[in-house]
Amino acid sequence: MVAELGHFALILALAVALVQGTLPLLGAARGDIRLMDLGRTAALAQALLVIVAFGALTQAYVTSDFSVANVVANSHSAKPMLYKVSGVWGNHEGSMLLWALILALFGAAVAVFGASLPDTLRARVLAIQALIGVGFLAFLLFTSNPFERISPPPLDGNGLNPLLQDPGLAFHPPLLYLGYVGFSVTYAFGIAALLEGRVDAAWARWVRPWTLAAWCFLTLGIALGSWWAYYILGWGGFWFWDPVENASLMPWLAGTALLHSAIVVEKRDALKSWTVLLAILAFSLSLLGTFLVRSGVLTSVHAFAQDPARGMFILAFLLLVTGGGLALYAWRAPQLQGGGLFQPISREGALILNNLLLCTLAATVLLGTLYPLFLDLLTGNKVSVGPPFFNATFVPICAPLFAALCVGPYLSWKRAELWPALQRLRLAFIAAVVAAIVAATAIDSRATLAALAFGFGVWLIVGSLLEFGQRLVRTGFRLPPRSALGMTIAHAGLGVVVLGAVATSAWNTELIKTMKPGDTASFAGFNVKLDRIENLQGPNYIAERATLSLSIGGRPYTVMTPERRLFTVQRRQVAETSIHTNLLRDIYATLGEGEAQNGWVIRLYYNPLAPWIWLGAALCALGGFVSLSDRRLRIGAPSRTRAVAQPAE
């Protein structure tokens, strides 16, 4: 009964989305305020209906209703409650429903918080948002109905993919989707602006909070995914340049570029058509990522739910959304006239450099990701493009980006002097050079490039903090606007990520050893003893657990317990790593194959500064949220400032 209610709510939502996607557009073209206002009501109704549908599916999972085929395929009564709930979106149908839910929620948010937007712009944004929703709801209803019943219902389900039964991954998809789908609002704003033929400072100010919110969620989502890969895949790495990871990195890069170019539109009325293009691309790359992950055109270490038939549908949808957007762009964007003139050395110039480099990075990732596909189709050769390609291309492009990052905020709009800015950054430069020299001499004399990259990390942190400090001194210690504070936090956070990534990749130590209970080994200054191996029975798995005791100079330091779990329902093995962290370094242990006679394979990694990677990413997102809380950028703010300003005139 509940499942049918959910199914019915989904059908109604599609009908409402069709109304929301057409009538307000008509209203905006005719200047009919009633039709335009219909968009807001419809957006709220659509959100409510999708919430009901999502709630119905969640209910089926929580109560283990095995008469619903989706629950049978992806859940099991023995599964802990957290994974019953996360199982809702741990499969193709459910995750598409989550997409539709977040899409509808963002639409409702525009309807609620967009009170100050011009009527035509709001109507068009809501209509575009609804048209995207039509695509997803139709996809759900016609190809991937999550409410399909099964008769007769089996006694128990097949269980969730064991790799997904993890707290980190329970929240990774929702955050990632908040980012991906958040860019749909940016896209809708871009299309609406093209329809209106108007991109101005006010538009840039309205679109910025949505971009910023989507960007923050995407940052957190990517960080969580990387953290999950770090501790569950058991390879000790944090980023594998896997197609699925690249799929999330591309919209992030485009979104970061958009955040920066929107500032130029807002302050200087320039870069208009470029910014609109980025608004379209950020969402298009999100859709492209979804297509790559779900269609099975690329292979990946963690591609789930692959199905070529669905691939065709997503491809058609991708073509409609991106192709439609880009066609409209090719038609209308040439008319957008840019305003402000500026010199190459200026804030605008720095932001353009930022955009060029970020877009080059995105293009590099795109090329590296798709190259195996192109080559296979054209010549039949199978290649895999991995870390060597990206280390040789991606990393060098980061160098000028990081170098310019600290200088940009010192440059004034229109025209600036480079030398005074550099002089004020003296301290950061000295700190970076010292850090690089110390790294090159004291840590590892062979890893010169790593030492250089380490210097860049220090440069980012000290440079960002220095700018903030000097600004404080200049303004007599009055707290600067939140957006400036947010920028400092995010830029410094990036530096923290760089330090963590460089130190972990370049200066880690690794030990792979076959050990029997009682064996000892020395590793990174620790004495490691394998105490015992025991068998455990978990709620829905059986496991082997190793107990390793680490000591320094005879004094016990810590006990680590890596496990290897065999999920009995799916017959799948998952490594449960054991990580001991003190925020400055991780000791990372995994248990490999083995048996009593020859011993077990134990792998130990010493990863210096590894936690900083995720700490830094969290700082970046925090910076975004702080910036989002800036009064001037709040969505309702322009009308309020107008209201305050008017009596004074």
């Binding site: 058509s273 293009l277 379209i280 691309l281 298009s284 297509f291 269609s295 099975g296 055109v297 690329l298 292979t299 070529p308 691939g311 065709m312 491809l315 991708l318 073509l319 991106t322 192709g323 880009l326 066609a327 762009y329 090719a330 964007a333 040439p334 798709l370 195996p372 596909l373 192109f374 296979d376 189709l377 199978k382 065999l566 017959r571 093995q573 194959e593 048996e595």
Partner: protein
């Protein structure tokens, strides 16, 4: 006019990419298959000691009987082998397939105990303790499975455990078709 063309560039790039995607989807390409040099060629040399005591050694003659055979490399220490094992049992009992099992880098008594515990679907069983046959057959690990037709030509090479889907979509049609 040139400026206009520039604005068309993103759309053109998309069209190019979409063309490749559609091609890939319609071609039914399997990106996960890394291919095998053995497919389409005569099966490598087979010269393995017997796993079960008192049986003759395994030789090339077993591969050219005019009937299709399945060669499966396994080991008792390998968990994926455990996962695919029931499928081989079913192939042997229900479909009457001739399956040659080779215990790779596995002590014979351990492999025998394993088969005793789980059931033995192998018409012929070999013990490749040193992994020499594995080298001949281009093995990258266990389990791996080869489908060989009646003339001794390798027709399919599975790396990793076979699945229900492989069984229904590839192996059974192969056994019916290849003579």
């Amino acid at each position: 006019m040139n400026r206009r063309l520039l604005f068309l560039l993103p759309l053109a790039t998309l069209a190019l990419m979409a063309g490749f995607f559609a091609w890939s989807l319609l071609a039914g390409r399997d990106p996960a298959s890394i291919g095998s040099v053995l497919v389409g060629r005569p099966a490598p040399r087979l010269d393995v000691k017997p796993l079960r005591e008192g049986e003759p050694p395994l030789t090339d003659a077993l591969l050219k009987t005019g009937k299709p055979v399945i060669v499966n490399f396994f080991a008792s220490w390998c968990t994926p082998c455990l996962a695919e094992h029931p499928l081989f049992t079913r192939l042997a009992e229900r479909d009457g397939a001739v399956i040659i099992g080779i215990a790779w880098k596995n002590k014979p008594d351990e492999a025998r105990t394993w088969l005793k515990r789980l059931g033995d679907p192998y018409k012929f069983a070999g013990a490749d303790l040193e992994g020499r046959a594995g080298l001949d057959w281009g093995l990258s690990g266990v389990p791996e499975t080869y489908l060989i037709d009646g003339q001794g030509i390798v027709r399919r090479h599975f790396r990793g455990p076979i699945t229900e889907r492989d069984l229904n979509e590839t192996i059974l049609p192969f056994l019916k078709g290849a003579k």
